[in-house]
Symmetry: C2
Subunit: 388 residues, 2 copies
């Protein structure tokens, strides 16, 4: 079981803070944006007397509300096609457990969300990476590259759209290519759409917008990023394949129920005013624009412009991002501050890739992004093992 | 993946309710006792602005409070030896994933909590049952029976103490026998202590009261039953083996964090007045006394007196408890009421065992227990496939 690349530097950050150094956290997708007050108030104003188990698929009232939400983003599902999960994490676990046997393979464009690895280890399945490239902004790799990896044990492909860690937004054409591929080889398409609302260039194509693949497509969803409600641990497994929903329900019943408090929060969130995402999106877009501009202005740094989510991957003029990120926390500070980044190597399945790359989560306000980029710029000058 | 024996009759219960029949739910361990108001109020009065991820091991403030709680029940641990989990369910999953490889075996006295099966399937491990008997109240089976099942793939033994589904409370002598066994064969002892506070005869012996087995013992814990807070989905993995805690942390990091709202509830619960459990225990004990008396007064029924938890297993004069429990929901009612029980067959790993047994959760008030027993008594008279 690999350690989380996002969290493995935590002890160094804690040590830095104990020394009095301010750490700009660009390493983890914990948004600083406030959880909408009405979402938190729904929990605070709850008046039940017994904190009971919910239905294993989640409260029916919440699933019915989610049907409205999905309709609003062009996804036509009913409440029996939704299982509420403990975070998007559990939706991914359920997909692995219900669709793949031990020893089976799932193909994932790399770099990818590192915890897919952890869930694969837990389920006894193997991740087969197909490499995407920073040069074209981490677009979908050529379909021929997928086909070269498909074998008798391949059961599924995962995409994260828009992508964590790259920020890439897959186009309608790319989604159609994936559709043809899963039909040709009879595979599942797992679509992690945690960042659906956060698209800055072009329109989001959900895997459930694709037609004629109802038995093949699963959406792994979560309220974590959508409403800045990461701690709620509420997600959803959404799928039109009734037999698969039936299998997943057995795993859902084994763990009894998803968390009750945050289901109340999730249900309330569906009634947020229509402009809620406009405001959050405008904020994230402004941060992205600033971050990408600042990064590309630094000597030897390249950062493609991500179309969605709130991550960017940048290539830095350094020997090794793992060493560099640890050095930032252990040995560097500027005006009492330093920056915590996630080395990208942990997001690649192929050993040796991404050694000069870091993932940056733009979850800080514009001022802090500016200050953190000042800090990074100085750090890159001070770092002893530069490559140019 | 087997369906939950506790939940598989749910569609029949829903149909009965749609027909207007009142269903006494004795099938599931959802206590009717109110969650302490101060526990719910802690969540309602929370005033954070962002519902953030917590530490993957849970909030440090909560883990420190839990150290106090464990000290109060004679368990000496520090906050680094506690990982907060998403219900006791996740603590069990973590134990399976971190201590056993695919194909390994865990020995469990049967009948046992059926979801151990589900978690074993998910982890790719095999459950090896050792049969306990209703004749001696489901006491620990002879150690020789365990030894007969131990092989090269055996890595752990699970006990649930006091036991779900039998209500049996393992004695200090039985715990010492298990200690000798795990030392002799170098096994883990997983002790599910969800019902620690609910002991009516004798004293609870925690697996962490045993000395000299710090590297072998794991407690799987939960606030669900202790504070009638099942929907919170908060539990704990407690262990003095630092290497094992390190392994479990990797799985904990992969799923990011346990639910934030209910951690607040769990932390507040530690400050409940000292007599809180006295009141709850007195209530459960009165229910148990009534239930066991009523059952044993029925023709052909035998129910041993359970020492703890809030379950009893009764042997009924019927052909097949699965058929009977379904019949109760589909074909029987008395004064517009019926009873929902859990067939015990689903709690046995050995096929064919427990066919005349049912598990009864005494989670209803005394009046309802009385009424439900009236109903069951009549049902047993009316049931067409009796054995005596």
């Amino acid at each position: 079981m690999p350690a989380s690349p996002i969290r493995k530097l935590v002890p160094y950050a804690e040590a830095a803070k104990k020394r009095g150094t301010k750490v700009y956290h660009l390493n983890i997708g914990q948004p600083d944006i406030e959880t909408p007050k009405m979402v938190l108030d729904a929990v605070r104003n709850s008046n039940f007397k017994v904190l009971e188990y919910s239905h294993s698929a989640g409260n029916e009232s919440y699933r019915k509300k989610l049907v409205q939400y999905y309709a609003s983003v062009g996804i036509d599902v009913n409440s029996d096609q939704i299982i509420i999960t403990t975070g998007g994490s559990e939706a991914i676990q359920f997909g692995f457990l219900a669709c793949l046997d031990a020893g089976d393979e799932v193909i994932i464009p790399e770099p990818f969300y590192a915890n897919y690895n952890g869930f694969a280890v837990a389920a006894g399945i193997n991740v087969v990476p197909v490499t995407s490239s920073i040069e074209n902004g981490f677009a979908l790799p050529p379909i021929a590259d997928f086909e070269a990896k498909i074998g008798p044990k391949t059961k599924a492909i995962i995409i994260c759209n828009p992508n964590n860690p790259t920020g890439y937004l897959y186009s309608k054409e790319e989604m159609e290519q994936l559709k043809a591929l899963i039909l040709k080889y009879d595979l599942y398409l797992f679509s992690d759409e945690a960042y659906r609302e956060f698209c800055y260039e072009g329109k989001h194509t959900s895997a459930l917008h694709l037609t004629g693949v109802d038995n093949h497509v699963v959406i792994m969803d979560t309220i974590s990023k959508r409403y800045s409600a990461c701690g709620g641990r509420i997600g959803a497994f959404v799928c039109k394949n009734a037999a698969l929903i039936g299998s997943v329900m057995k795993f859902a019943q084994a763990r009894l129920s998803p968390p009750s408090f945050a289901q109340i929060a999730g249900e309330a969130a569906i009634d947020l005013p229509a402009d809620y995402f406009d405001i959050a999106k405008a904020e994230y877009k402004a941060r992205r624009d600033l971050l990408v501009k600042r990064l590309n202005a630094m000597d030897g740094v390249f950062c493609p412009n991500p179309g969605g989510a709130f991550y960017a991957i940048a290539k830095l003029p350094i020997d090794d991002a793992d060493t560099f990120c640890q050095w930032l926390l252990e040995s560097f500070s500027d005006n009492g501050s330093t920056v915590m980044l996630a080395p990208a190597s942990g997001f690649y399945g192929t050993p040796g890739l991404g050694k000069q790359e870091v993932r940056i989560a733009y979850v800080l306000n514009l001022n802090d992004i500016n200050s953190s980029m000042d800090c990074l710029e100085k750090a890159l000058k001070a770092y002893p093992n530069k490559t140019n």
